[in-house]
């Protein structure tokens, strides 16, 4: 095997540590500190967006409720969706986990452009503030997708939405560029592509998508903004514009965006499984290459969100076929992960439980996705609660369960302390049961005829909506278990040591939390990371560090 990147003389420099409070914690250039900043900010928006969801469910406890006015309800689900996508899931997975873990896993001291990394983060809080401030000027009401002509007619809050999402889009593009250069150029000596951890593969493909796809979002938002504020007639039917044009440009970004939201979670799953099953991941190459395939194909399926928008028949057919095609590499991953459990020595700790939750719910979401991929079936299911159910199964069941798996897994590396295992199990089980109770019934009422984005509904759906709302309240409460766990651990959690789980990737070869320079010497990689039972495949690394799990 040829060895690439023989030495990084510039990147292996250890510069002097930051000295002032501002340089250490505010405008930090350290990827690990920036990761914490992303986690805190993303976590805050998760709470806010979650509260909006609970408010929505109070309104939907019964038909014709007047808890929220119709206008407020519409604004609630629009900001809920926008915040969850752009202020929670994408920042947590890319800015949070990507920053925390990827440079460590490739044996680097930091990302390629630390200053740009800092800029990326600092675009995030203003974007979030701008989005929530839109409530003061009439927040957008047409969902996170903001289709014109309505979004052209809506109040100034929609222009604020355009600006907010534009800002976070710039942040995501810069992060994508930064991560991709880092992964291509700064892997430790000896880390060929087939010795690269799967989370790094996932982050790399995600970075490519972030960089290329997000540019489309910027263009779409700019187009909507100038139509609204300056009358530039892209979407003005009376002057030759086309509402469907927005749908094309928006979804050309937003479909890759959903892969931005799931690929890092796939990466997390691929890391947690070998560690807690203590055997190599099954089908490493298949998982790695299927990630790249999914990344490429993700640009070719966007119009499956538009099957009822007056597309030509050949367009509908082409997008249907490509969508079904993308299911195949996804299925390969799921089967490989399940096969990775076979013949292992499994420790059923919280990170692995959340991975099981991911596998169960994401597979279900994938199956309903195939149902939606077929055009004739989609014609009935589009814009109904069936789609609401599907998207939450893949984004909550998939991304959020993946995020929690990652949090429980890398918490010791980030903080130096362990989370309480019993609380973790309670959190998992309550979240898993409440999640299914909330979203499974939605398939039923969706198929039966309840549309989405409505503040009231036909009374025949009352009992199901009541059940869903109560389950949603329990789901919200289950998060308190995690909050309590996190606070307790931060105060006096058990000290973790460098490698509490017995992992074999490079982040576990240094102390917890990692020193600002990460590695005393840049490690040299001799083979792949998942070969449990063989000696550690690194030189220049402290082999004395325990690789025996604590429990």
């Amino acid at each position: 095997m040829s060895v690439t990147n023989v030495g990084h003389p510039a990147s292996s420099h250890i510069h002097p540590p930051p000295d002032t409070f501002i340089k250490k914690y505010v405008f930090s250039l350290d990827h690990k500190v920036i990761a914490v900043q992303y986690f805190i900010t993303g976590g805050l928006f998760f709470v806010l967006a979650g509260l909006l969801a609970e408010l929505m469910r109070v309104q939907l406890m019964g038909p014709n409720n007047h808890v929220l006015s119709i206008s407020t309800y519409n604004q609630a689900y629009s900001v809920h969706g926008s915040a969850m996508v752009w202020l929670v899931i994408i920042p947590l997975l890319t800015g949070g986990f990507g920053n925390l873990v990827m440079p460590l896993q490739i044996g680097a001291r930091d990302v390629a452009f630390p200053w740009l990394n800092m800029i990326s983060f600092w675009l995030f809080p203003p974007a979030g503030i701008l989005l929530f401030a839109s409530f003061l000027y009439g927040a957008p009401q047409a969902g996170w997708t903001e289709y014109p002509p309505f979004s052209v007619q809506a109040s100034f809050g929609t222009s604020m939405w355009c600006m907010a999402i534009f800002l976070i889009g710039v942040s995501a593009t810069i992060t994508g560029l930064n991560f991709l250069v880092t992964i291509v150029k700064m892997r430790a000596p000896g880390m060929t592509w087939t010795r690269t951890p799967l989370f790094v593969w996932a982050t790399g493909v995600t970075a490519f998508l972030s960089m290329i796809a997000t540019a489309n979002l910027s263009a779409a938002l700019a187009g909507l903004f100038i139509q609204r504020e300056f009358g530039v007639p892209f979407y003005d039917v009376s002057r030759g514009g086309a509402p469907v044009l927005w749908q094309h440009v928006f979804w050309f970004y937003s479909h890759p965006a959903v892969y931005i939201m799931i690929l890092p979670a796939f990466g997390i799953v691929s890391e947690v499984i070998p560690t807690f099953v203590r055997r190599p991941i099954f089908g490493y190459k298949a998982i790695a290459y299927s990630s790249a395939t999914i990344g490429l194909l993700s640009f070719m399926v966007w119009a499956h969100h538009m099957f009822t928008s007056g597309l030509q028949h050949w367009e509908q057919f082409a997008f249907m076929v490509l969508t079904m095609l993308i299911a195949v590499p996804t299925g390969i991953k799921i089967f490989s992960w399940v096969a990775s459990l076979w013949g292992g020595k499994i420790r059923l700790d919280s990170p692995l439980l959340f991975v099981f939750g991911f596998l169960s719910t994401f597979t279900f979401g994938g199956v309903t996705g195939i149902l939606l991929a077929s055009v004739p079936v989609d014609v009935h299911e589009h814009a109904s609660y069936f789609v609401v159910a599907h998207l939450h199964y893949v984004l909550f069941g998939g991304s959020m369960f993946g995020i929690f798996a990652g949090i429980y897994y890398w918490w010791p590396k980030m903080t130096g302390r362990l989370l309480d295992e019993r609380l973790g199990k309670w959190h998992f089980w309550s979240m898993f049961v409440a999640f299914n109770a909330t979203f499974l019934p939605m398939h039923w009422i969706g198929l039966h005829g309840m549309p989405r984005r409505v503040a009231t509904y036909d009374p025949i759906y009352t009992s199901t909506n009541e059940f869903v709302s109560i389950s949603a309240f329990v789901l919200g409460l289950s998060m308190l278990l995690f909050a309590y766990n996190a606070l307790r651990s931060a105060k006096n959690g058990e000290i973790a040591g460098p490698n509490p789980w017995g992992g074999r990737t490079l982040e576990w070869m240094i102390p917890s939390p990692a020193p600002y320079y990460n590695f005393k010497e840049i490690p040299i990689v001799l083979s792949g990371p998942y070969d449990y039972g063989k000696p550690l495949p690194y030189a220049n690394v402290d082999q004395e560090l325990a690789t025996v799990p604590v429990h």
Binding site: P149, V237, R278, P280, M320, K345
Partner: protein, 370 residues
């Protein structure tokens, strides 16, 4: 630290689990096949709803074993391969990295299933779009989305029908679908709607500037729902309609009735407001009017102004039509609708109101004070 290689790769325990999961799958797959969607869940009221439901069943049929086996193996492996307490904490598992035959199988089989699904779908898509042949023999009519009601234009009927589409059973229909408002200005003009009849399994977005035809044949007599399935504004949650499928005789009677109405001069006799029931009016108000109006003073605008003290507000003595706020003039607006800067107040047909409903509403509004 040596991997456990005493057992054969796939032992009897494994195959027992496979069989158990196969039985569970078989039971569920059987249920999928025999489940009577039309009787037990949602009527299959159009001809194309049957192949669509069958396609859905086909997908569910093959999804069941995927779900059962993925979840089943997770549970089975989690128990079977968990580290026993007596084993060392750092015991390792099997070193097997891959299995080309297995991986090829689980690549090829789903691909084949996807191809079959695509082919089956390919044949169903044209069933709900008009072909040239169908266009010749179909009855063609229009469905137009407005804020916030459905307008239907029938061949041979001078006036449109609002919100309640009548169709004769068994007659194929081509429905030209679009969205329209009287003002086309981008800031106040038409928005997207979507025409969805769940019982027909048909949906088509109503797009301003585009006319998209769909084609279907009703096959069951009954009253079915039309649901607006694309966000269109404050009235979206209340934008509902009805499809009444009836026998040819009943349909002809209805059609003739519409023609008579159309021939009759407009507003020949104002609606009688005598005996209006305020409490019935209140129920109606809460059900239909609160989408756009608050039972609150004028300034509490929602889409239209608040309607409390409608008849004795010195600051707003006139209605949007420019006429004085009297019960008769209010009844006029309820009957014929009105246009304002806010949008369109639908007429009584659009709102599904009878003469009695109008009287009740006016009675209620007379009692509505802040």
């Amino acid at each position: 630290m040596k991997p456990d290689t005493h057992q054969p790769l796939l032992d009897s325990g494994f195959w027992r689990a496979v069989v158990v999961m196969a039985v569970i799958s078989a039971v569920l797959m059987y249920i999928v096949v025999v489940y009577p969607i039309d009787r037990a869940f949602l009527p299959e009221a159009s001809v194309v709803s049957i192949p669509i439901d069958n396609l859905f069943k086909f997908s569910m049929f093959f999804s069941v074993p995927i779900l059962v086996y993925v979840n089943g193996f997770i549970i089975y492996f989690a128990f079977r391969y968990r580290r026993r307490p007596e084993e060392p904490i750092d015991a390792v598992g099997s070193p097997i990295h891959d299995h080309p035959a297995l991986e090829t199988t689980w690549t090829i089989v789903p691909s084949v299933l996807m191809i079959v699904l695509a082919v089956l779908s390919y044949f169903i898509i044209p069933m709900y779009y008009p072909t040239e042949q169908a266009a010749k023999s179909d009855v063609t009519m229009e469905a137009i989305g407005h804020k916030f009601y459905f307008e239907f234009r029938y061949p041979g009927l001078k006036q449109s029908v609002m919100n309640e589409m009548h169709l004769p059973i068994g007659v194929p229909v081509t429905l030209d679908i679009t969205s329209y408002e009287e003002t086309l200005d981008v800031k106040t003009g038409p928005v997207l709607h979507s025409f969805w009849v769940p019982e027909f399994r048909l949906k088509q977005d109503m797009i301003p500037g585009m006319v998209v035809p769909i084609h279907f044949t009703p096959r069951e007599i009954g009253t079915f729902r039309i649901v607006c399935a694309e966000f269109c504004g404050l009235g979206h949650s209340h934008m509902w309609g009805k499809v009444v499928v009836e026998s040819k005789t009943d349909f002809d009677k209805w059609y003739a009735g519409q023609q008579t109405q159309a021939a009759a001069p407009e507003a020949a006799k104002p609606i009688s407001l005598a005996g209006g029931d305020a409490s019935a009016g209140q129920t109606l108000f809460n059900a239909k009017c609160t989408a756009c109006h608050n039972a609150a003073p004028f300034s509490q605008t929602k889409v239209g102004p608040g309607l409390a003290d409608l008849f004795d507000d010195p600051q707003h003595p006139n209605l949007v039509t420019g006429k004085k706020a009297t019960p008769a003039n209010v009844a006029d607006i309820l009957e014929h609708g009105a246009h304002g800067s806010y949008g369109t107040m639908p007429n009584m047909h659009a709102n599904g109101l009878t003469d009695k409903d109008v009287a009740n509403l006016v009675a209620y509004l007379q009692t509505l004070h802040k």
